[in-house]
Amino acid sequence: MRVQIPSSLLLRAVQAAALNTLIALGITVFGQESFATNLVYSQCIGLSILALIDGSSRWFIRDWPTQWRRLVLIVPLGASAGFLLGTLLADVLLGNTSSQYWLTQPRKAIGFLVLSLVAGTVLTYYFLSREQLAAERQKLEIARRQAAEAHLKLLETQLEPHMLFNTLANLRALITTDPPRATAMLDRMIAYLRATLSASRQGTHPLRAEFERLQDYLELMAVRMGPRLHYTLELPPELAEQPVPALLLQPLVENSLTHGLEPQVDGGRITVQARREGAQLVLEVSDTGIGLAAGNGTPGGTGFGLAQVRERLATEYGAQAALEFIADPAGGTRARITVPYQA
């Protein structure tokens, strides 16, 4: 059971006062005293109990999840003490001495004490379960919002507006000058968009499909960058069916392009390689770009794309996967992912 610290004391006081009024009504129906007298006693006792239980649970329960069991002592003690305190208070207010009841009508006195204990327990339980419900609802709401935000961010990085509009501008140019090439580019774009939109739902797909999507993306970029982009995709046929999280490598390729090659006047080459090293499947994205030190994006995982790659690796493989960046002494960057080889 997880209990949150109760809040909104005023609301609870109002609810307790309502219960007190009901109790006073009940007692008036079955007893001899006037409703006014019963109401004063009932309110004094009820609010004292509330104050004592509330105050002592604030004092003695600093950490609700581990210490809530202390209520087992706090509630009966608080209710009994509150009963005594409230009775005294009402006596002072009305100029009575009700302590005589303990001698003349002990059954009645004990009945009122038991009533106080029951009311205190019921009300405390009611307050706590309401707090808990509200806390759980809030937690659920936060989790839902975070998931939606993550999904949106993923889409935003993959459908980066600059990339999208530049690609459309190229398409627009090709439609009049080279229709067959425009059609080919549009097909690549359709495949890329379809893969992007389904990637977050899809889980894993074969390495072959991963390389096909990378080729779509790189072909789109090759049309845009012209002779400034060269690329090589190396997938040994025996690894083609290895499962990988869908579009895992895409952020790495995009990183190489935007931070490695695009800032370079002459562009460069991107190589994506898959190979088996014993029990490990190694996936490498290397480029001949401006390199780690000079790049404005530190590939330590600050970019959302890279954080997302690490996160997906952790979810899929736990500690068995790794992502590392190696600065090439000759310039350029090599990103290396290792995951378990699926026999």
């Binding site: 600059h162 501008a169 190229n170 000058t177 012209g226 400034r228 800032p263 006047v265 404005n296």
Partner: protein, 274 residues
């Protein structure tokens, strides 16, 4: 003026297909305009603009080497001083696929911009605007000053958009060998960009920071430190005098450092006698 009879243009765009497409669209929208040069990056754009002195510049914003905005600023600095025979600074049109900060800044400016993919109707409007600007411009300094003010505004837009920290930086941490030296910002005379690093100069020492100047600048107190050049930020109080050389360039003389610092035309407005 004769230049408007056969106006010339330079296109700077790193994506070859888009450069060709813009040229083709321009041929339709403005047949008299002659595209005299195409540049694939910011540095080449500056060099070609200086060599060809066109009337209109179409600059892509995201380009390798220098961004379109940086290229325009560099060009403004290197443009031959407007004299009786000097050619006025070209009309600028920026081209971008998506750049929300820049587009916001453009909205308020007379410098025009085009969004990619370029739509013929929109291009027609830009052409009309540029033609009007070319017809009205005088070789005088007014037009150039307006362009400089606009460029300053555009270059500052992304920096102001990224929320600047409320408290200015007080200490710099510079690595010296294997140690880290703590350098109070109060001791710094000026910062100078050097490749991807920043040189920090105090009266006695020089340090190197691995932070680009663009990242450092928003953290400095704008009252105390003034950007006077694309790569130079100086402590205003450290400047002793400002002199103008024969070419009309401003130079700063510092109180406690022999180095003279050049002031870019973009920032020359900071130094005016009271």
């Amino acid at each position: 003026m004769s230049i408007t009879a056969h106006p010339t243009a330079l296109i700077a765009e790193d994506e070859p297909l888009l450069a060709q497409a813009l040229q083709a669209e321009l041929a339709r929208a403005w047949p008299a305009l002659q595209v005299v040069g195409m540049a694939g990056n910011g540095e080449a754009a500056v060099a070609q603009a200086l060599a060809l002195q066109p009337d209109v510049l179409f600059f892509d914003i995201r380009m390798p080497a220098l961004s379109g905005l940086e290229a325009a600023a560099t060009l403004a600095d290197a443009w031959p001083q407007a004299g009786p025979q000097g050619k006025p600074f070209p009309a600028l049109v920026f081209v971008t696929a998506y750049d929300q900060y820049a587009v916001q800044a453009f909205e308020a400016q007379a410098v025009d911009y085009l969004l990619k993919p370029v739509q013929p109707e929109r291009l027609q409007k830009t052409v009309a605007k540029v033609q009007l600007a070319l017809a009205n411009r005088s070789p005088g300094a007014m037009h150039f000053e307006a362009t400089l003010a606009q460029l300053r505004h555009l270059l500052a837009a992304p920096a102001t958009a990224a929320a600047a920290p409320s408290v200015p930086l007080r200490l710099l941490q510079a690595s010296v060998g294997t140690a880290i030296r703590m350098v109070p910002v109060d001791e710094v005379l000026y910062f100078e960009a050097a490749d991807k690093y920043v040189r920090v100069l105090t009266a006695e020492h020089e340090y190197l920071l691995r932070t680009p100047l663009s990242a450092l600048l928003p953290q400095l107190d704008p009252q105390a430190f003034w950007q006077v050049h694309r790569g130079t930020v100086v402590r205003a109080a450290a400047v002793e005098s400002v002199t103008r050389d024969e070419a009309g360039r401003l130079w700063l003389q510092l109180r406690s450092h022999p180095q003279r610092l050049a002031v870019s035309r973009l920032y020359a407005h900071l130094f005016k006698a009271m």
